[in-house]
């Protein structure tokens, strides 16, 4: 039941990420295209690792895949630049991003981000011509 005096913000889903932890697609595309930038670790926690230089972990809704992600990032310093993405569907329907982002929160990473693909990987990445794995 939604109480009438609840504010709009209170009725919103509380996400494990903050606004500043959302990375825009052009920003990530720029990072990928400029190899002189410090290393950014890009992990796909969706159906496939389509984005260039990303590591395909598997869908974040599966515990086995979360274990794989944990193993991949375990060796990284806590301030490592990490970007995760899914892109299967709009954020509100995606079953993968929250478990994966929560894991990084729990591991106390300080510089991890979620790629902002509000609709999906096709509309928000491929259709813009951003780099993909061939």
């Amino acid at each position: 039941m939604v109480l009438p005096f609840q504010s709009f913000a209170q009725r919103q889903r509380i996400e494990p990420w903050t606004e500043s932890q959302l990375m825009s697609p052009p920003e990530l595309a720029k990072i990928i295209n400029e190899s002189s930038k410090p290393t950014t670790y890009i992990f796909s926690i969706g159906p496939t690792g389509l984005i260039k230089n990303s590591i395909d972990i598997g869908e974040g809704k599966e515990k086995a895949n979360l274990d794989r992600l944990k193993k991949q990032v375990d060796k990284l310093p806590l301030d490592a630049r990490i970007v995760i993405y899914c892109g299967c569907c709009p954020f509100d329907k995606c079953p993968n991003i929250r478990p994966a982002f929560n894991l990084l929160n729990e591991m106390k990473f300080t510089n991890h981000k979620l790629l902002n693909l509000p609709k999906n990987l096709k509309v928000d990445w491929i259709d813009h011509g951003y780099p993909i794995n061939e």
Partner: protein, 174 residues
């Protein structure tokens, strides 16, 4: 909602009965166009083309095992397939579903087909959103579907639930 369903059904009837032959000869994504050809492999590796289904009423269902709403829709498609599969329509004979999966992993795709007992046509190039077919059909989100008549002409797009069922029902030969 009811009004919009009625509107869509009326549109489908009008288009089905009144699409000029000249319009129906051009390929495109608009209602009245011939649906672009698709020819992709089934799980057994054999290619099945959309054009091989001429003469039937065909629902092209774009889906994927990683798409929750698509999975939720499969029981409805199973019911429609069972109900209308061998029906006689005003112009078409039989109803077929041509499932195009945007999956990436063949094992997941096959597992879901088995688990959900999908017995209609299934094809995929396993290229996710990178599939050329997703580009050809300008798919912006899943699930997405296209209903085509016996000539391969698009008569409705992206209908779900009751709107989809009514659009098929209305074409049954009385």
């Amino acid at each position: 909602m009811i009004l919009s369903i009625r509107f869509l059904v009326i549109v489908a009837i009008l288009f089905h009965s009144g699409i000029p032959e000249t319009l129906a000869q051009s390929q495109g994504l608009e209602i009245g166009n011939i649906a672009p050809e698709i020819s992709l492999p089934a799980p057994d590796g054999n290619f099945i083309s959309l054009s091989s289904l001429r003469g039937k009423l065909v629902l092209i269902d774009f889906w994927a095992t990683w798409c929750g709403p698509c999975i939720n829709e499969q029981p409805l498609l199973a019911r429609l397939y069972k109900k209308y599969g061998e029906s006689e329509f005003t112009k078409a004979q039989d109803f077929e579903i041509y499932g195009v999966s945007l999956d990436t992993k063949k094992a997941s795709w096959e597992k879901s087909i088995r688990k959900m007992k999908i017995d209609w046509i299934q094809v995929s190039d396993l290229k996710f959103w990178g599939s050329p077919i997703a580009e050809t059909y300008d798919i912006q989100a899943l699930p997405f579907n296209v209903l085509i008549d016996e000539r391969g002409v698009i008569i409705a797009k992206n209908l779900h639930g009751k709107a989809l069922e009514q659009s098929i029902e209305i074409l049954i030969k009385k």
